[in-house]
């Protein structure tokens, strides 16, 4: 079923990076493989060399610091993020998102880095990390670089990794005061891929309802996780009431470029973007007011 390949199980990050430098385009990294084995079974992906990093415990961590924010190692499993007390306390949106990501079996083996590197625009984590203004640390044998999450996805299942690079860490800054973030997706069944999803982060200027900053990202509305910058502008500087939230939804729907498939037409998806951006923005606003 799966095409054969040569298998490596490096013991250290350095060893993994050196294998990547050696084999470049011929090599693929496998972490939990919860998405990748699916495409390997379909033979859409037939790597010559498979570098299995699932056992690299050095990249399995969740660290939080009042100054530096949250750092999640790329090989942290979804279930660990969902259940992490520090994430539940300070970045509740991440834990909520994970609770609806596939099933427990998938979350027990699949990793956050693997999910991001698969580059599926229907994935949930990328949109939430964009709303949280998270950065990604990419490592190679030669250097490390840090990029914004929204710069990572290039096209459907394509990400901005050079052939010798791997994702090593996700860095989520502590949110500014009076910030609330939320994510919801349209699911038929809990754990489904979102027919569409919306992540919204709102920062208020103080105790009132004036929006100082907003970040909005949409899942499954384009070939990449889509940042809806025009919809953000519809909120920034405004006193947020139902009318403004409705407006943001309408603008986001014009930015969305969904396709039609068995789960919904493009037209339906656009309509749902309106509903979800408004609904999620309202929740983010409520959280910002309490923050």
């Amino acid at each position: 079923m799966i095409a054969d390949f040569e298998y490596f199980a490096p013991k250290t990050v350095e060893e993994a990076l050196s294998l990547l430098s050696k084999y470049k385009e011929g090599a693929k990294i496998i972490a939990g493989g919860q998405s990748m084995l699916v495409v390997m079974k379909q033979r859409l992906l037939t790597p010559e060399y498979l570098i299995d990093i699932k056992g690299l415990t050095a990249l399995d961590y969740i660290k939080h610091d009042e100054k530096q924010g949250l750092k999640i190692g790329a090989l942290t499993i979804h279930r660990a993020i969902e259940k992490s007390p520090v994430i539940q306390k300070h970045f509740g949106v991440l834990s909520e998102m994970e609770g609806n990501l596939a099933t427990i079996q998938t979350r027990n083996w699949g990793t956050i880095g693997g999910n991001l590197c698969h580059g599926d625009p229907a994935g949930d984590p990328a949109s939430v990390f964009i709303a949280l203004n998270a950065k990604l640390k990419l490592a190679s044998s030669e250097r490390e670089r840090i990029i914004d999450t929204e710069e990572f996805s290039k096209d459907y299942l394509e990400v901005a990794l050079e052939p010798n690079e791997m994702l090593s860490e996700i860095q989520v800054p502590n949110p500014p005061p009076h910030t609330g973030t939320a994510y919801e997706k349209l699911m038929v069944m809990k754990g489904d891929m979102g027919i569409i999803g919306a992540a919204v982060s709102i920062t208020l200027s103080g105790k009132g309802s004036v929006c100082q900053d907003a970040r909005i990202a949409l899942s499954n509305c384009s070939s990449i996780p889509l940042r809806a910058k025009k919809a953000e502008k519809a909120l920034i500087g405004k006193t947020l009431d139902e009318r403004q939230l409705t407006k943001a939804g309408e603008v986001a729907a014009t930015e969305a470029a969904p396709t039609s498939d068995v789960h919904g037409s493009a037209e339906y998806r656009r309509e749902m973007v309106k509903v979800f951006v408004k609904r999620v923005a309202r929740l983010a606003l409520e959280r910002a007011q309490k923050a």
Partner: protein
């Protein structure tokens, strides 16, 4: 070199194995074909149905979506490993007593998901039970009986009725 057999050391149901496998072998195929542990079933082979659920280091995973080599150095438990000698596990007994068996095909996966839940949380809410078996499909729609049987088993394990 492609096609080269790789060494795999793992423990399955408490028994250590040293094997040589093709790298592309899925864990479910290793269990069923090499080790003849056919209690674990194959359904969709696409990470959708949950019938191949086993434990790796105590956590429920889908054995169709894990390479056998990824279980190297780990402890795997299959449905064959949940009984205590000839004595059925309380989850199995509750499913039989409560009639939570239709055709039985999804049952091994259901037991493994339920066992992982109860090991972590001996007093789950109904929502938690539902979440634990959310990834296990039953073509006979026998979900309610399964949920009730898991709740009964939880009470038995806690020492109640």
């Amino acid at each position: 070199m492609k096609g080269k057999l790789r060494e795999l050391k793992l423990t399955v149901n408490g028994k250590p194995y040293e094997l040589k496998v093709k790298p592309e072998t899925l864990l479910v195929d290793l269990l069923r074909q090499e080790l003849k542990l056919t209690g674990t079933k194959v359904g969709c082979l696409d990470s959708a149905c949950g019938v191949c659920t086993v434990h790796i280091d105590g956590k429920a995973v889908r054995s169709c979506s894990v390479l056998a080599l990824q279980a190297n150095g780990r402890k795997v438990t299959t449905i064959e490993g949940v009984t205590d000698g000839d004595k059925l596990h309380p989850i199995q007994q509750a499913m039989i007593d409560h009639g939570a068996i239709e055709c039985g095909f999804c049952t091994p996966g259901m037991v493994m998901s339920a066992k992982a839940l109860l090991a972590e949380n001996p007093n789950p809410t109904r929502e938690e039970v539902k979440e634990a078996i959310q990834g296990n499909l039953c073509a006979d729609e026998g979900y309610v009986k399964y949920i009730e049987a898991i709740e009964i088993a939880a009470r038995v394990i806690r020492g109640g009725q």
